[in-house]
């Protein structure tokens, strides 16, 4: 079955730098991948969706790429701020019921 893998180690970066988070998947390419942000004790919040035939998607300081050859999506936050500190989740849809399968998430800590 399809698996989504994210680096479980926390990522610590300095304010103003670019944060890059990785999401790898096994087996077949999902039709699309989604990225969510989760703050402690809160529900995930949708950030970006990228389709299989899209190489890159941007929204303000966020950028997502999708490389079907590497079976990987990268999530970038440019000019990072302490307020960007959170856990970022990658997810894919594995069926036609809307069900999403989430990776374990990567926690980002941006230090001032």
């Amino acid at each position: 079955s399809q698996k989504i893998e994210q680096n479980s180690e926390a990522l610590n970066i300095q304010e103003g730098k670019t944060a890059t988070l990785t999401c790898n998947y096994t087996n077949y390419s999902p039709a699309y991948l989604q990225w969510y942000r989760q703050d402690p004790g809160r529900g995930p919040v949708f950030l970006l969706l990228i389709r299989e035939n899209e190489k890159e998607k941007r929204k303000e300081r966020l950028k997502v790429t999708f490389d079907t050859t590497l079976k990987q999506s990268l999530f970038h936050i440019t000019a990072s701020q302490p307020a960007d500190s959170a856990t970022y989740l990658c997810a894919h849809s594995s069926s036609n019921t809307g069900k999403l399968i989430f990776g374990q998430g990567t926690t980002l800590q941006v230090k001032p």
Partner: protein, 113 residues
């Protein structure tokens, strides 16, 4: 902006008791979901619901669990005979269609003692 609301925010129950977790999805959404997150672990899919019936469920969603949409606005998750390992954060989510992003509520923290 419309949001998914869940009640209660925290529920404490004794082992063996039944609990009902409540959710009000976004009003024009057609797909509804329940997810679970055990402390420190990933967000896990439990069940999806569309057109007044379960469209998919995970291995976790056994006979102990049931969902219902009793009226046009509420979506509930019932857990019968709760066990210690049911302690987790339970998230409700909804989406406009099956390819749209999910909108999550802020969860109900269930503690089984």
């Amino acid at each position: 902006e419309p949001e998914v609301t869940q009640t209660p925010s925290h529920q404490v129950t004794q082992m063996g008791q039944e609990v009902i977790l409540r959710c009000v999805p976004i009003s024009n959404h057609l797909y509804f979901y329940w997810y679970r997150q055990i402390l420190g672990q990933k967000v896990e899919f439990l069940v999806s619901f569309y057109n007044n019936e379960i469209s998919e469920k995970s291995e976790i969603f056994d006979d102990q669990f049931s969902v219902e949409r009793p009226d046009g606005s509420n979506f509930t998750l019932k857990i019968r005979s709760t066990k210690l390992e049911d302690s987790a954060m339970y998230f409700c989510a909804s989406s406009e269609d099956r390819n749209s992003p999910l909108h999550f509520g802020n969860g109900t923290r269930l503690t089984v003692t």
